[in-house]
């Protein structure tokens, strides 16, 4: 009686993909990068005050809720990346090992920057019966992330590397991966400028002073960006093609804060980022008007006269086209701002102004906006060797790039013009996301320990590097 005519093996799944590690690579890139893009539109732009909402404004009032979706997406990607790494180690495919480490570190850096202490060293151990990974301290996570990127750089410097497939980011170009790894390592090192300046300066100097050993991005050609496809399901997630409804798109407007800043700098990127208001176009006097962050529902919808009086983000570029807007993981221009800051701080022996101006120029070039001849010498832009000036341009540079604008604001306090909106629930600008409720219920002991250690699971609790 225990003989069966049917099999209990599912015919529609694979039990082994050892010969096709690229299936995991494509999957993890898609998942994490789409998350980063979605998160930068709906949360990152608000937290960084590039944008503001005119309805359902509770997020803008600092009711940040459970960002469990983002947490899950990054951890799913990390899970896939770790499986990929394991698979590649078994078959000695060093290039996949390196690429996996870089993607993991990129995802981990966003997680720890936004949540603080997070599960890291015990992640992905369910198969070994560890169902509740402990939370590592952010300091230790940073140490390891910097080491992982160094290892990736070393692995990618070897000879006779296997070509990788399924790579959405650099189409298998391992030299580009190497540049991304070292550039990302500089971004992470810089994050420690306030808590551990010696590590920060050491890492950045090491990379800058040994370009042969540590190649970094050298032009916009080297950008870590992903161009989406023209059709669903891999069009840009915030476009008509991806069935993101136009009404939802229009709930977000360019922020008054961002408009004021760019107008103050007479920055022509403003005309690229934003559309003039519907009303002003009808009146024949096109103008860009921003929405104030942190206004309660109702009044928010009547601000400046209502939605016809407020500017949208360039709807043709950012919404109607399925794939013009890229996912920006890291731009060459950011590398220049990092170097500018390192030089300004005296960590490297170089001219901060040159880096700064290269960064600004490269960002204009990236967006395809002509750099006005007098821009680099105009008031508020001209290099004055202050961190504020560098950070202002870096902030503009980080527009619509996951949560980076907000994160860098929390590190440096610039732009100083960012402040809680009039109806916001807190007077201080929050620092982090609360841990997802799933962690609280499913990993309670470790969650509680971490929450106590960081000083309470509130959005106003500072992460370690922010001190």
């Amino acid at each position: 009686c225990d003989k069966f005519d049917v099999s209990n093996e599912n015919p529609d799944v694979a039990l082994n993909i050892n010969q096709n590690p690229e299936l995991l690579l494509t999957n993890l890139q898609r998942r994490s990068i789409r998350e980063a893009v979605g998160g930068s539109w709906s949360e990152g732009n608000l937290m960084g005050q590039y944008g503001a909402r005119i309805v359902f404004t509770s997020f803008d009032l600092f009711d940040w809720g459970d960002q469990g979706g983002a947490w899950n997406d990054y951890y799913y990607a990390i899970r896939d990346a770790k499986e990929l790494e394991e698979l590649a180690n078994e078959t000695d495919l060093k290039s996949y090992v390196a690429v996996s480490k870089i993607m993991q570190t990129w995802a981990y850096s966003i997680l720890t920057d936004m949540w603080g202490d997070i599960p890291y060293s015990e992640v992905n151990q369910a198969s070994e019966e560890n169902y509740t990974p402990m939370y590592d301290e952010q300091e230790a996570i940073y140490t390891d992330m910097l080491a992982e990127l160094a290892t990736a750089n070393t692995l990618l410097s070897g000879a006779n590397l296997t070509q990788i497939k399924g790579d959405l980011l650099f189409d298998g170009d391992l030299e580009m991966w190497r540049k991304f790894a070292n550039s990302l390592r500089m971004r992470l090192a810089l994050r420690l400028s306030e808590v551990s300046p010696s590590v920060a300066s050491e890492v950045i100097a090491e990379i800058y002073n040994n370009p042969g050993q540590f190649p970094i991005m050298e032009s916009n050609e080297d950008n870590a960006t992903l161009t989406f496809l023209a059709a669903n399901p891999d069009a840009h997630p915030v476009t008509e093609e991806s069935v993101y409804r136009v009404g939802s798109y229009n709930e977000y407007r360019i922020s008054e804060h961002f408009v004021t800043m760019l107008e103050g700098l007479k920055d022509p990127r403003l005309e690229f980022f934003a559309d003039p208001t519907t009303n002003s176009v009808e009146q024949g006097t096109p103008e860009i008007v921003g929405m104030l962050n942190g206004v309660v529902d109702g009044p928010a919808y009547t601000y400046q006269g209502g939605d016809a009086f407020l500017s949208k983000f360039n709807i043709d570029y950012f919404y109607f086209q399925p794939n013009t807007n890229q996912a920006r993981l890291m731009l060459y221009s950011e590398v220049q701002f990092i170097l500018a800051e390192a030089a300004q701080r005296g960590w490297i022996n170089a001219d901060a102004q040159t880096f700064y101006e290269k960064g600004v120029t490269a960002n204009f070039e990236y967006w395809g906006v002509d750099l006005p001849a007098d821009y680099l010498t105009s008031s508020g832009v001209a290099f004055d060797n202050s961190l504020e000036t560098i950070m202002t341009q870096k902030y503009i540079n980080l527009f619509y790039t996951d949560y980076q604008g907000f994160i860098e604001y929390k590190r440096t306090g610039f732009p100083a013009t960012i402040e809680p909106g009039p109806d916001a629930f807190y007077d201080v600008y929050p620092s982090r996301f609360e841990y997802p409720s799933n962690e609280e219920s499913l990993n309670n002991a470790n969650y509680t320990e971490a929450a106590n250690r960081i000083g309470g699971d509130q959005i106003t609790t500072k992460v370690w590097w922010e001190n």
Binding site: C1, D63, A231, V296, A308, F425
Partner: protein, 1075 residues
């Protein structure tokens, strides 16, 4: 040859229609007509007639020397003839059963006003809960017997038709394996396809004792359907016709006072936000007072409508608005457009016509029937058509060999089934976000002028689809062929031994055709999709029976049998998610790649079983069963599992003399203990990689999310029950009561893991869940005489569930949800609904304890999950009545559900959109705003911008001030207050008590006296007026029928209403004729 005529009456001289009159020792027989009259030809001269009628003692009548007579049958007070169908289709005397089985007669079902066989169980059976997703023959019904016992299983009973298990799935793979953005579609459940007119009777086996012989698959009870045969019936034809008209029972309560817009203002320009708040889909706009305003349906200077905004060269992917072509709008009065759900829904219509032919002779019988069901739903352009051919026959081939067969062919077709749930494809969703001035009729012409087939017309282009466009263009068709059949042979080996062999199969092929037109919000370039389901389940059984009266008093019936069940359930979906040419629904017309999804579970269960019944003196019965199953879904070391049962029935009134039957006519005690094991789904024993959708040319895969358990064990349910069956006053009062207690152990659960562990769940065996409850059936026959008879029965059910244990280290286990979370914790019960709510004062010493804490005048969300209620009722009570006066009979059924909670997502979300009545509060002095408590405010106040306002709300509660609480005094606009309070995560604000009383069915029938048709061959003619859901009283819920459930993520979610299409009230008539 003589002709003998007569009349058959009961002791009260009430005629007995349908009594059998047979010449003894022959096949020559007739049945009495409605008035109890009969006429029989006796070819052999005067003979002895045997006159019998169910519930009465059969009588021999010698016709010698007579040509007519009146014969009085005596009621059999011991009801020896009350037989029920039990497991394995074995017919048993009810009194011999040691467990509770409830029978619903076929007439109840075929004459019920419900068009769905499953729904007819509601109110007619104690302890059986039936909930439907909307109404109508095409919608799913969920049946739960004796409470929810399994956290992960579907808790649905096994449905058996003529001894063969049939598929009762609600196949939701269209929703769960979609990959694209299609929303929840309900294509109905399998058992609902059984034609009510073909049903002879239904037995509901409630507990493990009753179902032990079915094993694993009937762990949640079994519903045994026996279809009609020609047995014992003279040749004839019957015809029945039923016509009903359906309408909305209760629609959500929309506000109807303020129209679309914001800030009390609105003016339409293009529906994209270029006008005054014309991009919003909310009703915070101006009073609907007839003021002239530009609207989407206002005429324009170019003879178009205000909403015809797109240019003729409009290409999707750009805004394409051409207002010059449209022209300037002539404003029209801004008035209430009417309750959109009521205005949009149409009168549904259901026709069911059945014709059947039947007959029998000494050696066999046959019945053939054809039924045509034609339903037009209340949602425009939805329908279901079902044609059923049913044939059955028995034939005694030799003295020892008998064969019988039944076969049903069912063809279901629909041009369109509607989407249910929250999202743009669902019409009820479209009315959650709405402008109260919009009259649905203005949207009937749903294409934009000149852009037919290309761009829909609507009042809002920012978010929504036109509901008529949705129903007429975005259709979800169905074509299903199903055959349920069986063939069995019984051979009498000797007087005591017989051997039965049976094979049965349920198989179907179902196609689902899904079309989405250009300009659909979710599919701007359209979609075409076909889902195909190929299902087959084959059962082979044998049964060897030994049956002997060992002595006068001792009777033995012993059996040994086996079953082999193989089930294959293949699903294949093909999608073109972007079309090249609008309106061509073909896979050749795809822009990009086709997407394919498959799911092909297969499983097998082999079983051997034995059972015996020992009877003593027809008054004490002992039943013993034992069964062993081998399931292909469990690991080798655990795939064999054994379970026994025992039950005892004692007829006290036979054993002891209770004196006159006038007081206690019958008394029986029964009790039993049983175990049932159950397996799991196919393919749960491997750690695999799921292959995903490629990114362009790059294929993808991801590791499975569930960590399998390679040592999975079967679930075991242990239960005991005892009960009594008492009858008083010559059966005028009967009471059947059962107490049961069921404990389910070793449940197969997917315990959630944090994703940081690399998996999101692991499969384990754990948990211990107890259901205990009481079922009481009370029958009363208060009046009975020749002209007037009133039969009344009460079905009471009460179930209490308790989670005794969860897994080690697991405090809470979430097993479902939709808005709320269904969470089990030790000491809690299944059906507990958890959710989030508002921050409140939690300090018993504070005078403000329990009050809402406001921040800047707004409520604050408290993310902590808390228990909000339980979706299970405290008890249910059905009251079923038949009142007969001469030829007129009235049947009515009341259903009372007490307690249990319901979450209304319609309330929560339509309150943020300002569309439901709750949101009137605070909009003007008339509706309580601004709050009268504010100092020197009167009915107006000055806001921060120095503007005088007459709207606003000061929420009831406190605010924090100087480290303590003071009464809240901050005024906020009504829009901000309601938006915040009814945020969809604030589940506490959408919870209702689900108590209701319903007049579920009523039927008035007139039986025409057959003497009217003297000379004709009409044996019976009746006409009925019928109605369903004629009256509803809901204690608390104001947005519809509290019996609604939602349908999400591949399963029913009871206790949540989520933009579900309203249930219906139906009225109609029925005609039954027999020739």
């Amino acid at each position: 040859q003589v002709t003998f005529s007569g009349k058959v009456l009961d002791q009260n001289n009430v005629p007995l229609p349908g009594a059998s009159v047979v010449a003894k020792g022959s096949a020559n027989g007739v049945a009495t007509d409605f008035d109890g009259n009969f006429e029989i030809e006796l070819p052999g001269g005067n003979e002895i007639l045997v006159i019998s009628y169910i519930g009465y003692i059969a009588q021999d009548f010698d016709t010698a020397g007579k040509s007519n007579a009146t014969i009085v049958l005596r009621e059999d007070s011991q009801l020896l003839d009350e037989v029920v169908v039990t497991a394995l289709n074995i017919t048993r005397d009810e009194e011999s059963l040691g467990y509770s089985v409830q029978k619903v007669a076929g007439e109840e079902i075929s004459q019920s006003t419900s068009t769905n066989t499953v729904s007819t169980l509601s109110g007619r059976t104690a302890g059986v809960q039936v909930v439907t997703n909307g109404s109508g023959p095409g919608q799913s019904s969920s049946v739960v017997i004796r409470g929810y016992s399994s956290m992960q299983g579907d808790n649905q009973p096994l449905f058996i038709v003529d001894g063969i298990p049939i598929n009762n799935n609600t196949d939701t793979r269209t929703n769960t394996l979609g990959g694209a953005s299609n929303m929840n579609l309900d294509y109905g459940n399998g058992a609902a396809e059984i034609n009510p007119n073909d049903v002879e009777s239904i037995s509901v086996l409630k507990g493990a004792n009753a179902t032990a012989l079915y094993g694993s698959r009937a762990a949640n009870g079994a519903v045994i359907i026996t279809t009609k045969s020609g047995k014992g019936r003279k040749g004839g034809i019957s015809f029945s016709s039923k016509t009903t008209f359906e309408s909305v029972l209760k629609a959500p309560e929309y506000q109807g006072v303020y129209g679309q817009g914001k800030n009390f203002d609105f003016q339409f320009v293009d529906g994209y936000g270029s006008g005054t708040y014309d991009g919003v889909d909310e009703s915070w706009g101006p009073l609907l007072d007839g003021t002239l305003r530009a609207q989407h349906d206002s005429p324009t200077s170019n003879g178009l409508r205000g909403g015809d905004v797109h240019g003729l060269d409009y290409v999707l992917g750009s805004s394409g608005v051409d207002l010059d072509r449209r022209g300037t709008i002539t404003p029209t009065p801004f008035v209430y457009g009417g309750n959109p759900a009521e205005e949009f829904m149409e009168t549904g219509r259901t026709l069911i016509n059945t014709v059947s032919f039947y007959g029998s002779n000494d050696n066999g019988n046959y019945r053939v029937s054809y039924t045509n069901l034609d339903n037009k739903g209340i949602v425009p352009n939805t329908d279901i058509k079902r044609n059923t051919i049913s044939a059955s026959g028995d034939y005694q081939i030799t003295d020892r060999l008998k064969v019988s067969s039944k076969i049903n062919y069912i063809r279901s077709d629909s041009d369109n089934r509607h989407v249910n749930g929250y999202g743009t494809e669902s019409v009820m969703y479209l009315f959650i976000w709405w402008g109260q001035q919009v009259n649905v009729n203005s949207l009937r012409n749903y294409w934009q002028d000149g852009l037919e087939g290309f761009q829909q017309f609507n009042y809002n282009y920012n978010y929504h689809d036109n509901p008529y466009f949705t129903m007429y263009e975005n259709t979800n068709g169905l074509a299903k062929d199903r055959i349920i059949g069986n063939l069995s042979a019984t051979y009498d080996i000797s007087n005591d031994f017989k051997f039965m062999l049976r094979g049965g199969r349920d198989f179907f092929s179902e196609y689902r055709f899904i079309k989405r037109a250009y300009s659909t919000q979710r599919f701007p370039n359209g979609q075409y999709r076909e889902d195909k389901i190929n299902f087959q389940e084959t059962n082979l059984d044998f049964l060897l029976t030994y049956d002997k009266n060992v002595t006068d008093k001792f009777h033995v019936n012993a059996n040994f049998g086996g079953n082999r069940m193989v089930q294959k359930n293949h699903f294949n979906s093909l999608m073109a998610n972007k079309l090249l040419i609008p309106g061509i629904y073909s896979f050749s017309n795809v822009d990009g790649a086709l997407v394919q999804r498959t799911s092909r579970p297969e499983k097998q269960i082999n079983s051997l079983y034995a059972f015996a019944q020992l009877g003593w003196n027809n008054s004490i019965y002992l039943d013993l069963t034992a069964r062993n199953d081998w399931s292909s879904t469990l690991p080798e070391q655990n795939n064999s599992y054994f379970y026994p049962s025992a039950s005892l029935s004692v007829v006290l009134s036979d054993l002891f003399d209770f004196g006159s039957q006038d007081v206690l006519s019958f008394a029986k005690l029964r009790g039993g203990w049983a175990q049932v094991g159950s397996d799991t789904d196919a393919y749960r024993l491997s750690d695999f990689y799921a292959l995903g959708t490629p990114v362009g040319d790059n294929p993808t895969a991801s590791p499975s999310n569930t960590l399998p358990n390679f040592d999975l064990k079967p679930e075991i349910q242990t239960s005991y029950e005892f009960g009594t069956d008492l009858r008083f006053f010559n059966n005028k009062l009967s009471l059947d009561a059962t107490y049961y207690n069921t404990v389910s152990r070793n449940q197969i659960l997917d315990i959630d893991l944090p994703i940081t562990s690399g998996k999101t769940a692991r499969t384990i065996n754990a948990g211990k869940i107890r259901n205990q409850g009481l079922e009481v059936m009370l029958g009363v026959n208060p009046i009975r005489n020749e002209d007037f008879n009133w039969n009344s029965s009460f079905n009471f059910g009460l179930n209490r569930n308790r989670v005794l244990e969860l897994a080690d280290g697991v405090q809470r286990y979430q097993y479902g949800g939709n808005g709320i979370s269904l969470i089990a914790e030790e000491g809690g019960s299944l059906g507990d609904m958890w959710g989030t709510g508002l921050v409140k004062v939690e300090d018993e010493n504070s005078p403000y304890n329990g009050q809402v804490i406001f921040n800047e005048g707004l409520v604050q969300q408290d993310n902590t999950l808390r228990k909000l209620g339980n979706f299970n009722p405290d008890f249910t009570l059905g009251w079923n009545n038949t009142v007969t006066f001469k030829n007129l009979s009235l049947n009515f059924l009341f259903d009372w559900r007490q307690g249990g909670e319901l979450l209304s997502r319609t309330r929560l979300i339509a309150a943020t959109s300002g569309n439901v009545v709750e949101t009137l509060w605070g909009r003007s002095p008339e509706y309580g705003g601004p709050h009268p408590g504010i100092s020197d405010s009167g009915l107006s106040y000055t806001n921060d911008d120095g503007v005088t306002q007459t709207d606003g709300i000061i929420g009831d509660g406190v605010k924090l001030q100087d480290g303590g609480y003071v009464p809240n005094d901050v005024i906020v606009p009504a829009n901000a207050y309601h938006n915040n309070r009814y945020r969809r995560d604030n589940d506490t604000e959408g919870i209702y008590d689900a108590t209701f009383i319903k007049l579920r069915e009523a039927r008035l029938t007139y039986d025409f006296p057959t003497k009217l048709f003297k000379g004709d061959d009409i044996k019976k003619l009746s006409f009925s007026v019928i109605g369903t859901n004629l009256w509803l009283w809901a204690k608390d819920f104001n947005h519809g029928d509290p019996e609604l459930l939602s349908f999400g993520g591949g399963s029913y979610v009871p206790g949540v209403e989520n933009a579900t299409v309203p249930t219906t009230r139906s009225l109609g008539f029925a005609i039954n004729v027999e020739f």
